[in-house]
């Protein structure tokens, strides 16, 4: 018995070896499925683990609020809110940083640390150096990202302007904070560790420096498990309102946490979607190959049954074949998944600053990936195996009856006269196996859609940058003041070196409400027809600022459920905090942020504050950049300066590099899928119709004519796949855009023709490669084999 089983196993190995090319293609597609699964869920696991441990050990707060200024004495009031278990009050102050060797100023945040005790919330992880001593003056802790970006070491000094006074502060410790895993500077659309840093300073020293003795302007709260976060936010808002409190927000709205969470959500979508494509294609390919395998081994199966093998033993035999492929695919996939996952995790360390972020994945992820793959493979095999098991031995040993063809749509429609006989063979074959044609088409189409998706990311980002920087924000630099200033400040800026044009900006934080929909945002007041900082219509044309009412970004309008003409309640969150009722005059397009725009004079009238501005959009002669930056660095009243070209550049550099990797990966994936599908389909066609093709060669058809029949079928599939693939690609893009449609940014659905073109070209090239491999087999068709009665 063992001998027979050995013989069966030997048959299995040899059978596999005979179709090694096809099996290898399947192994690769399978490996991609497992790899993307392990990569995505591994990275999610790693991020989640790092995040949860970090948040937990370093007491990341649950609710946050900023305010203008409140006495520390209100602490008890906050503690009394039901469900609040800890409160930390801080002073957070914006600073301008001057770094030697960098012409443009950087901005930063200076945060107070309690003297003589650890913070109760948002504790710091000390990477190197030491924590601050109580009341230690002249010393700060620096965020690791900023220190690394500038190559600062312990003991180095950082110059910053604090409340109008320039100070050089010594870095005594390098730290990380759970609040700033991901940090964006003011006005930035992408993290820029060189131009934005976070620093911590002794509470008493900072209070003294910024005139906040015994007061605070930032509060964090931890709540009891099970407490209602909405209630706490509301209570907190009521307490802070008299102190200029801005609206409180929970963890899920906290910027850093939001980005981490958003990234994980995206990974989850990818981690489910990509493996589904790969494993679906692998299952289909296995089905095709195994069906063919069973068909060619019909007589063997009959013989084996005749000599006493049971259906179960035979089913197991073929299943083993598939399982071997699964094992190979799993080993390769797990390996590739770990490699890709490690690479991706490494990429995340550029954006996410965790004390430790290492790629790791739970055994469940691996088990699930392999199981998922095995199930899809078995599903693909089952039908084929059932066919094998079903055959009565006597029938199995007889050769298959000639393939049945009948009159197809060609004849019914009378179109046949337009096709050569060779083309008719092609069309009838395509039509005779509608499911195989359908799935092959789908497979090739999916590979194309993966490419459309990858290239779309580039198109979309290019478009976004173009809209943001060439159409909307056409200024070169964006300045913001510490406090609102009279319009005359504009004249001072105009007189600075290299300034060619200046436009005023008046920005005010506000809470917008419509019915029970509400959103914290800001209202930006602009001149009636701005030339630098512009607003764009839905069709992306520059629009004038409406003379009356608000111009709302479409996303904000969507959140508030308002349309043009509706009334909004606007709670201004500054100074006298007036409550206004303003009509929505226009809906405008914006991909980043949630803005509302208004005529500046009108806004100032509403606020009853005279003509004041909070910042300016400036056009600069690039030759004067250096002197201008030098000048601005030394103006204490200017708290923030965004150089748009730099934002654009860093965005493009970092995104470009990562996109490049993603596109390369997708090209490999797509090529593997399309190659796998085309190669397998062509090989199967060759195997099924080898004798027919040999006969045609004997009858005097050339190799080219014979190849035409074989490749004609594949070509039809590819041609059908083009619209299918581009359509699926478009749908994937829409889905992606929808899933990324968040309050912070939207992905414009822009697909360049070249994206479609490249996707088609890559798939066609990988198909040509598989054509070539199959052509070599056509080349070797044994003419004598045509004579044989049966294969």
């Amino acid at each position: 018995m063992t001998l027979i089983i050995d013989a069966m196993n030997r048959k299995l190995m040899r059978d596999l070896w005979n179709i090694k090319g096809q099996m290898l293609a399947i192994v690769m597609v399978m490996a991609c499925g497992i790899a993307t699964f392990i990569m995505s869920f591994g990275v999610i696991d790693s991020l989640k683990l790092s995040r949860d441990i970090y948040y937990d050990r370093y007491q990341f707060a649950d609710v946050f609020a900023q305010l203008k200024r409140a006495p520390r004495a209100i602490r008890q009031q906050v503690m009394d809110i039901p469900g609040v278990s800890a409160v930390e009050m801080r002073v957070v102050f914006g600073v301008t940083i001057q770094v030697e060797g960098m012409t443009e100023p950087a901005s930063g945040k200076l945060i107070s640390l309690p003297d003589g005790r650890k913070p109760l919330l948002n504790n710091l992880y000390l990477r190197s150096g030491r924590m601050l001593r109580p009341d230690e003056d002249g010393a700060i802790l620096s965020s690791e990202a900023f220190a690394n970006a500038h190559g600062f070491a312990l003991g180095d000094r950082v110059s910053m302007i604090i409340n109008g006074h320039k100070r050089a502060l010594k870095i005594v410790g390098i730290v990380l904070s759970p609040e700033y895993v991901y940090s964006l500077g003011p006005g930035a659309i992408f993290p820029d560790d060189k131009r934005f840093g976070i620093f911590w300073m002794s509470q008493r020293v900072l209070e003294a420096a910024v005139d906040m003795d015994g007061a605070f302007n930032d509060i964090s709260v931890r709540m009891d498990r099970g407490a209602n976060v909405e209630d706490i936010k509301q209570d907190l808002d009521i307490i802070l309102k008299p102190y200029g409190g801005l609206i409180a927000y929970a963890r899920n709205e906290q910027m850093s946490n939001w980005f981490v969470q958003n990234e994980m959500n995206q990974l989850r979508v990818m981690g489910l979607f990509a493996p589904m494509i790969f494993l679906g294609v692998a299952a289909f390919l296995i089905n095709v190959v195994m069906t063919r395998q069973v068909a060619t081994q019909r007589e063997q199966i009959g013989m084996l049954k005749a000599v006493g093998y049971s259906n179960r033993e035979l089913a197991l035999h073929y299943l083993k074949m598939v399982l071997l492929v699964v094992v190979l695919g799993s080993i390769l996939g797990v390996g590739a998944g770990i490699w890709l996952g490690a690479g991706m995790t490494n990429m995340y360390t550029q954006f996410f600053h965790f004390p430790i972020l290492k790629f790791s994945f739970s055994p469940e992820v691996m088990i699930f990936a392999v199981l998922f793959c095995t199930l899809s493979a078995i599903a693909g095999t089952l039908i084929a195996i059932r066919q094998a098991a079903k055959l009565p031995p006597a029938e199995a040993m007889r050769p298959e009856t000639p393939t049945h063809f009948h009159r197809t749509f060609l004849e019914r429609t009378g179109l046949e006269q337009f096709f050569s006989h060779l083309s008719r063979i092609v069309i009838r074959h395509v039509e005779r196996r509608p499911f195989r044609t359908l799935f092959s088409t789908l497979g090739v189409g999916l590979s194309m859609s993966i490419l459309v998706f990858a290239f779309f990311m580039e198109d979309s980002i290019d478009f976004l940058l173009k809209v943001q920087f060439d159409m909307a924000q056409r200024e070169d630099i964006n300045l913001s003041f510490v406090t609102p200033r009279a319009i005359t400040a504009l004249e001072e800026i105009r007189l600075m070196p290299g300034v060619m044009k200046v436009e005023p900006v008046r920005s005010v934080a506000a809470f917008l409400k419509s019915g029970h929909y509400a959103k914290r945002s800001s209202i930006t007041g602009l001149r009636p027809a701005p030339d630098l900082h512009r607003i764009l219509t839905k069709k992306l044309r520059a629009a004038p600022i409406p003379a009356q009412g608000l111009a709302l970004s479409s996303k904000l309008a969507e959140i508030l459920h308002v349309k043009k003409g509706d009334m909004l309640t606007v709670e201004v969150l500054e100074e006298r905090r007036p409550v206004l009722h303003i009509r929505v005059a226009e809906i405008v397009e914006e991909f980043i942020g949630l803005s509302a725009f208004m005529d500046m004079d009108q806004l100032n009238r509403h606020l009853n504050e005279g003509t004041v501005i909070t910042g300016a959009a400036v056009m600069v002669d690039p030759l004067w950049n250096g002197p201008l930056y030098q000048k601005i660095k030394n103006i204490p009243a200017i708290i923030g300066m965004t150089i748009l070209e730099k934002s654009r550049q860093i965005f493009r550099d970092v995104m470009g590099e990562n996109l490049m990797k993603m596109v390369t990966m997708n090209i490999i994936f797509a090529s593997l899928i399309s190659f796998g599908v085309i190669y397998n389909t062509a090989r199967i066609a060759l195997s099924e119709r080898g004798r027919e093709l040999a006969t045609l060669r004997v009858l005097g058809l050339t190799k080219g004519e014979v190849a035409y029949i074989l490749f004609g079928e594949m070509t039809v599939i590819i041609l059908l796949a083009i619209p299918v693939g581009l359509f699926i690609g478009y749908m994937m893009v829409l889905g992606m855009a929808r899933s990324l449609d968040t309050e912070l940014f939207r992905i414009p659905v822009v697909i360049e023709t070249s994206t479609y073109g490249m996707s088609v070209i890559i798939v066609v090239v990988s198909s040509i490669l598989s054509f070539y491999l199959v052509w070599r087999q056509v080349d070797n068709i044994d003419l004598v084999s045509a004579q044989k009665g049966v294969e």
């Binding site: 006989h421 006969t695 045609l696 005097g700 004598v784 045509a786």
Partner: protein
């Protein structure tokens, strides 16, 4: 030239099949002449070399040594392309397993070949010649074995080939159907003067040949010339 009346001539034709360490001698020196217009039957046990011989003169295989002449053209010098054209224009093949293209109708199977021929007869005429005028629009799976083989013959004759090479054309058929097929072959041979070479195991078929060549162990054992070929009906199967 005397060659005028010789379609195929072979000189000391040998063919070895090498598989690993063993060499099988399929042909061990065959020198033959096949006159134009003859109906020739190749007889012999399996493995005697008759199929190999047919494959070589049909341009499907090349000899290990020796020469093949087709109308005094050295076939052994032909390139692959030339061999393809030779098969396309000069040879009609009929196989034991019919080898029709299942996805084409009877008519289209014939047309497939006439499309690429220089001076073909209309496919319908070829089908009528084998008595299948009424089955033109049927697919192979809708035809009986004998009908399929007759379509194959129609396909072979439609190009008006100089030679017809038939490997066991009745091997898969019952005697009655076999006779119909043989009649079709004989009719073509007589009507168009096509040199027809038929391989068979069935010695009785030899009675209808002008010439019977007996193969044995890779050699020609005997050649008999039949002055009075029988008609297929007279053959006792």
């Amino acid at each position: 030239m005397k060659a005028k009346n010789i379609t195929f001539r072979t000189e000391a034709l040998t063919k070895d099949y090498v598989t690993g360490a063993t060499v099988a001698h399929a042909l061990r020196g065959v020198t033959l002449e096949i006159p134009r217009g003859d109906m020739v039957v190749l007889l012999g046990p399996s493995g005697s070399g008759k199929s190999t011989f047919l494959n070589i003169i049909g341009g499907l295989d090349s000899p290990t040594s020796g020469e093949v002449y087709f109308n005094e053209d050295r076939l052994s010098d032909y390139t692959e392309k030339q061999l393809t054209l030779f098969r396309r224009h000069n040879v009609g093949f009929v196989f034991q397993a019919y080898n029709l293209v299942p996805s084409l109708t009877a008519f289209e199977n014939v047309a497939l070949v006439t499309d690429i021929s220089l001076d073909p007869m209309p496919p319908a005429e070829a089908l009528t010649a084998v008595g299948l005028g009424g089955r033109a629009r049927h697919f192979p799976s809708q035809l009986s074995g004998g009908e399929q083989q007759r379509v194959a013959i129609a396909r072979a004759i439609a190009k008006r080939p100089e030679v017809m090479l038939c490997d066991e054309p009745t091997g898969a058929l019952d005697s009655e159907t076999g006779i119909v097929v043989l009649k079709a072959l004989q009719k073509v041979n007589k009507k168009f003067g096509t040199t027809t070479i038929i391989i068979t195991h069935n010695a009785a078929i030899a009675a209808m040949a002008d010439r019977v060549i007996h193969f044995g162990d890779g050699r020609v054992v005997d050649v008999t010339v039949n002055d009075h070929p029988a008609s297929p009906e007279e053959i006792s199967w």
